[in-house]
């Protein structure tokens, strides 16, 4: 090969191209390479030092949930044909991936009740940030109003990126676990408000009155965001809702509640936990946002012989065409994870998603009532919940959690550790999935009950009484 190239040595190729001053004159300080078997053993030994949801009955949620992922999803996601190609730049040999995107868009559109879905963005919180940017492009506003019920990671991500695209992020507090509608209405009425963002269910598990929030964001005006806001001055803010897709079999669709843009973490839909990623972010909107959406969008068309086919479309939004004028910088996204999502939705099916929602409602209600009946444990709010709820413990949460974990049971997330809000002190966020049976809940009640009791006693003793 060197002869064909016309060089005497491999070194020559580099010497002729890389200036000596920036050539690395030494070996990288990394361990020597290993065979497959040894690398596998090493990775397995690392895995063995993690406590997975197979090893522990876990009520952790707070954005990612331990749903059962059917085996056929693994099989499909591992098929070379889906696993190893890249973005379908050559549609004639990428009809599989493109059709998956088209189906995914259809499923997300159905789920959210919004006509336009892209083919996914990175994940939940960055989807919120992307929606904020889209609002700016849409109406040129400078403020984003967010409910304190949004996932703290979403709020933080929005703040980070909004600092870049130069928007102010204004937080509206909660009242009995849900967004304070009056404060929200006021905040949204301030001139320059570009977007109003809330979560459904919110971070504390509470079902928000989405329709009321959407209406209030527009200053009481119904209808979509084209209508002008209450202040009369600027346009009404874009109403953005972060959804948990698994709840949309039982909860009213965002599109039916006057929401303009629905975003959300796609992990609950057939994606594994993976310590937080990769998963996918869903992103759907009303028609008028179509040409400002971030990310890939597959569209239907025909080939030279009139056969149905699919292509990436509306590419003039995208960075590879529009460069600095693009509506987003996203390139590599989450196609494989979105495949998992649409296959999961097909697997659940039209009835299954409702049944699953009903199961979660019932078990969550049971769990909440059972736990709230424990001494030293109370509900953090009285709002309806679907699959997750917040409690307040009359004991140190970290200590209580540690006691539960020692019993092989993870009781849920420490709220304050996530939100850093003092009012969340003592908060425990408990999530349910179809994998947590009544027996698991009863066991949680037992373990949590005695952990709280022990801690309260301990504290009493500790306080010297």
């Amino acid at each position: 090969m060197l002869a064909a190239i016309g060089v005497d040595s491999l070194a020559e190729i580099f010497e002729r191209q890389i200036p000596e001053g920036v050539r690395l004159g030494r070996a990288l300080e990394l361990p020597a390479g290993k065979g497959e078997q040894e690398v596998y053993e090493h990775l397995r030994s690392l895995a063995a030092r993690n406590v997975s949801v197979e090893d522990q009955t876990s009520f952790l949620g707070a954005g990612m949930y331990d749903h059962y992922v059917p085996a056929l999803i693994d099989m499909l996601m591992e098929r070379s044909e889906f696993l190893t190609p890249y973005t379908p730049y050559q549609p004639e040999i990428s009809q599989g991936g493109l059709q998956v995107m088209f189906e995914y868009q259809t499923a997300i559109s159905e789920l959210t009740g919004l006509p336009v879905s892209n083919a996914s963005v990175y994940e939940g919180p960055s989807a919120v940030a992307a929606a904020g940017y889209m609002a700016k492009l849409h109406n040129g506003g400078t403020r984003i109003v967010v409910s304190a019920g949004l996932h703290p990671h979403s709020i933080q991500t929005l703040r980070t990126t909004a600092h870049g695209y130069e928007m102010e992020v204004v937080e509206v507090g909660l009242r009995d676990g849900v967004t304070d509608v009056e404060a929200w209405r006021e905040a949204c009425a301030v001139e320059g408000t570009s977007a109003a963002v809330f979560a459904q269910p919110n971070f504390y598990g509470a079902v928000e009155d989405a329709a009321a929030l959407a209406e209030a964001a527009r200053g009481g005006a119904t209808g979509a965001s084209g209508a002008s806001g209450a202040s009369g001055a600027g346009p009404a803010p874009v109403v953005i809702c972060q959804v948990d897709p698994i709840t949309l079999g039982v909860l009213r669709a965002p599109g039916e509640c006057g929401v303009d843009v629905a975003v959300g973490e796609g992990q609950p839909l057939g994606n594994r936990l993976d310590f937080g990623g990769p998963s996918f972010g869903l992103f759907a909107a009303r028609e008028e946002y179509m040409r400002r959406m971030p990310g890939r969008i597959a569209g239907e068309t025909v080939d030279a012989d009139g056969r149905r086919g699919f292509v990436l479309t509306l590419q003039t939004r995208e960075q590879h065409i529009r460069r600095e004028k693009a509506t987003s910088n996203i390139c590599t996204a989450q196609a494989l994870n979105a495949l998992g999502g649409v296959v999961y939705l097909a697997w659940l099916g039209r009835r299954g998603i409702v049944e699953l929602g009903e199961l979660l409602l019932a078990r969550t209600h049971y769990a909440r009532e059972t736990l709230a009946a424990l001494p030293g444990v109370e509900k953090l709010h009285e709002q309806p919940v679907v699959r997750e709820f917040a409690l307040r413990l009359d004991a140190d949460v970290a200590a209580v959690r540690a006691r539960c974990v020692a019993q092989g049971l993870n009781p849920g997330a420490d709220l304050e550790a996530l939100t850093h809000r003092v009012e969340d002190r003592g908060g425990l966020l408990v999530a349910l999935t179809e994998r947590r049976s009544r027996a698991d809940i009863d066991r949680l009640a037992e373990v949590l009950g005695s952990a709280v009791a022990a801690e309260r006693e301990h504290e009493v003793v500790g306080s010297g009484v």
Binding site: R23, S52, Y86, T106, H163, A298, T332
Partner: protein, 512 residues
Amino acid sequence: MSAVVAAETPQQRQRARTIFQKGAPGRRAFVCPEIDVPAVDAGELLPERFRRAEPPRLPEVSEPEIVRHYVGISKRNFDLDSGFYPLGSCTMKHNPRLHERAAALPGHARLHPLQDVGGAQGALELMWRLQGALGEISGLPHVSLQPSAGSHGELAGVLLTRAYHEDRGQRRHKVLTPDTAHGTNPATVTMAGLEVVKVATNADGGVDVEDLRAKADEDVACLMLTNPNTLGLFDPNIEQIADIVHAVGATLYYDGANLNAVMGLSRPGDMGFDIVHFNLHKSFTQPHGGGGPGSGPIAVSERIAPYLPLPIVTRVASGNGSGAGFELVEQAAEGPGSKSIGRLRGFHGNYGCFVRAYAYICSLGADGLKDASESAVLNANYLLAKLREAPIAEHLPAAYGELCMHEFVLSGGPMKRNLQIKTLDLAKRLLDFGFHPPTVYFPLLVEEALMVEPTETETRETLDAFAEAIAGILVEAAEDPEIALGAPYSTPVRRLDEVAAAKRPVIRETLG
């Protein structure tokens, strides 16, 4: 007999029908666990006004139907496991299956991101080791694994630059990028609230140093550079470029998409860069998944470190003295992340990709990574040499230079003039030969560009066969350009009407 053979291939005869067009009412795959808790009034569970009236019209299909449907449409994809995929700038190198096996271990795949630190020591150690390896490979010691892909890493990088300047009381407005830059670079600059200023490319394909010098002023926040750049050329003036940029107090951002050319050979940090993103899905062989997932960690120099996004993983002496432990730093009082720009996403980044990238680094080791880059460059130069042979060179000359790094760019300009077929036609005709075409029409400054990146995991036989196919197509076009103009013929669908798709977008299935 051939009258009998339909003009259509078997795949073409399978008309596209979506999953929504299959199944029948009542069919299902999922069996819901029974409700095992006491029945409660529906209204008490969820008041009517919050309830969905009609279920979403999801498919109603059985498991066998789902399997057949998706297995069937998967066969309408070309993929890396099926053939050569020299998509320039995308580093389509072989994806070892070990990585999938390792990532699927329940200890990795079924680990909740909020698992207590004590129950995630393996994951944290892996992240810590990966941070270290990426720091060593890039020559920039402080690493955040958080960004979700290359462009997300770019966003992090430009925000870091902004934070750095702001912390010094400066609001700089401009980011310089050469006109060869990938589209994500300028798109990112805008998203981060800065302005793109283009720097010209010189006759050799590198940065026009004079133009750079002219534009490098105190309002410049950063220069974003890919090196080797998207022409596959290592900029010989890189040291000088770095000096110019640093002289005005700006930072240097290294788009790491082309890192596959220089692993173990040259390091961005040593070139003078302050910030680099890695595309784990490129250089570190995360499967591309049909367009993701990817992962875009960043590594930065000392001066940028305080602004890093959090969390990052650190190693600490464990409380009880039983050796070291690993922690997720969510808030830093000092050092890296102490003035953090904040989060860029939920949780800790695309951990599943970290597992694969880390497995790759363990497999290759120091020598193997260097070897990979060397072989990638060797393969690219070999293929370039093959494509310099007759009858190719006269129609598809190399855009720049004699040698290249891990990829190279040809110009289809002469082909278009000589043979009346465009780069697009060549690409489409390549499909009939079972090859994925190179990246086309990028970089923009090369007329009718074809950007070829063979990667190190391809054999010489494959490179030869590819060169032969190109030659064959050119010869064929000289005889009859219509063939290429009408290509492809043997793919599941033929050339698709993209204009119609964009004009009247149909982006979801219509349901009955």
